[in-house]
């Protein structure tokens, strides 16, 4: 290996890495410190003498109490969770079947279908939200969780299909052939042999899809209207700013609590998430 002098290691490695870590994490620290800082300290002139912006000696849970007393935050949390789980489930189901078909079966138009699923993967929601809002209204789905449960798969299925297709291609065909010689049906071999082997891939796709639906904003903003039906991102944006006044303590408390579930899921499955992430861009 290349040998390095200590000062070089500091200049080229430790210092830049520290800057990256601080820059990446500071906004989250700021979220936390704002959420527990009393209002009197939050809104103090930036030139005040005894201003200590980076910590507080009087931490308070006032903002969290307000959050639960004055908004329907628990509903938003539950809605976001419910919608994310169901739409991830639907997407995994569709993605598993479609991914298997595209990876293993020979049928006319297979190539064209694979390409068009890949193209839909690249269609951004912001291109379609206006006509979709119209369609959701016509289907009488407006302001129901089903509006989101049915539309989130549009960006999750292509991703799941793509990822699982890649995964299925790495499983040797001989496994299935053995099973079929032993009398299993094609469908049975898929269900009992291939899917169990693909569990890590399924988990990766599922975790990634879950974080994507937790993060989704524009469909939720356009399709939902009553306060208690909203998801966390939309609720925080539309229900916690009254007029022009921002209640920053409450806002940051909401942002913090709204981030924790997805951060927890992520922290338990970091490796699977990373596989999903890097797999999402590979063919």
């Amino acid at each position: 290996m290349v040998i390095e002098r200590p000062w070089k290691r500091w200049v080229y490695f430790y210092i830049p890495l520290t800057v990256f870590v601080i820059g990446t994490l500071f906004p989250f620290y700021w979220m936390l410190i704002t959420a527990i800082r009393p209002d009197a300290e939050l809104y103090r002139s930036w030139r005040a003498v005894n201003n200590t912006p980076f910590w507080t000696l009087n931490p308070t849970l006032e903002h969290f109490k307000d959050l639960f007393a004055k908004t329907t935050f628990p509903h938003w949390l539950w809605n976001t969770f419910f919608i994310a789980v169901i739409s991830t489930g639907i997407s995994l189901f569709c993605g598993l079947l479609a991914g298997y078909a595209l990876a293993r079966l020979k049928f006319p138009m297979a190539g064209a279908l694979g390409t068009s699923i890949f193209v839909t993967y690249l269609v951004p929601p912001t291109l379609l939200f206006i006509p979709l809002a119209d369609i959701i209204r016509n289907f009488q789905l407006g302001n129901t969780p089903w509006a989101l449960i049915l539309t989130y798969p549009t960006f999750l299925i292509p991703f799941c299909t793509w990822l699982l297709m890649g995964y299925f291609k790495t499983i040797p065909k001989e496994l299935e052939e053995c099973a079929r010689i032993d009398g299993a049906t094609r469908f049975g071999a898929m269900l009992r042999i291939i899917f169990p082997i693909a569990v890590p891939g399924i988990l990766s796709a599922g975790i990634f899809a879950f974080t994507l639906s937790w993060n989704e904003f524009i469909y939720a903003l356009v399709f939902l209207s009553s306060p208690e039906r909203k998801t966390v991102p939309v609720g925080v944006v539309s229900e916690m700013i009254r007029g022009d006044i921002y209640f920053w303590g409450q806002l940051m408390a909401g942002a913090l609590l709204g981030s924790i579930p997805v951060a927890l899921v992520y922290s338990f499955f970091v490796e699977y998430y990373v596989t999903g992430l890097t797999g999402s861009v590979k063919g």
């Binding site: 906004p27 989250f28 078909a101 379609l128 939200f129 549009t154």
Partner: protein
Amino acid sequence: MKKPIAGGTNGTVAVALPRPHARPSRGLRFLESERLLAVVLLAPTVVLLGTFIAYPFVSGVWLSLSNTSVGNIGHFVGLHNFSKAWDDSIFQQAFRNTFFYTFWATIFKLALGMWLALLLNRSFRGKRLVRASMLLPFIIPTVLSTFAWRWMFDPTFSVLNWLLYRTGFIVNKIPFLSDGVYGMWCAIVVNTWRGMPFFAITLLAGLQTINPDLHEAASLDGANGWQRFWRVTWPLLKPVTLVVVVFSIIQTFSDFQLIYVLTGGGPANSTHLLATYAYQVGVATGLLGEGAAISLFMLPVLFIVVWVQLRYLRRLEA
């Protein structure tokens, strides 16, 4: 020498050993045909994507050619919405902003992401923890983290202004979000902050596939770090980089939530992107036809990017 696969995975295969009652039932037998099975397996996906992507797309094209508004079924007006948008000064600003924003944010994300990937590719203590925490901006819902940034850019109570003032860099506050030009750069900073981890982690995965012997050989030949990067790492990393950049361009070009929360398109409509302006016209004002036309202006760029991507994939397969 091939391994006996069935023997190697005893536990799994045992399930499918012949059992008389496991013979295909009459109902499932038709699935033995590959074509029929393919139809059955692909049906749910095709139905969902057809209903909620293909149909809205066609309906969006129709909307953009009509003067439909909320509660008012429109009629065909040709390309009127497109020409109206084209002459609208706010639209022109949003159009320019979208390119400006995408261009700079992508450059920064690529440069910083590459740098971070190179740093993370070395071995050091706590590497797993650092790598995991670096992805946080990408995991946490954009809307929520953008609120933290908005608070950091607050006109009166900005911690960044405080920091710069205390360290003696500024005398007067920087008008982060109350000025269009500053506002656009703030949005680029936040977008870079959010998207950089995606670049870093994907490029890191690419870096890990590069054989360290190549670097060793290059340094034995007298190449310094900079030369090793441009002559060894970069050429090998190009395919991954291209794919990541394409994905990022699509997401940045069609970005909505970041601007919606950070500036709301303001001050005085100076920081709109195509998506936020389409929302303002199509949803907030209710002019569905005009809004649909504005968002369709994204299509040519997205089309070119997707085309590049597909061509590239074809070349890989060939």
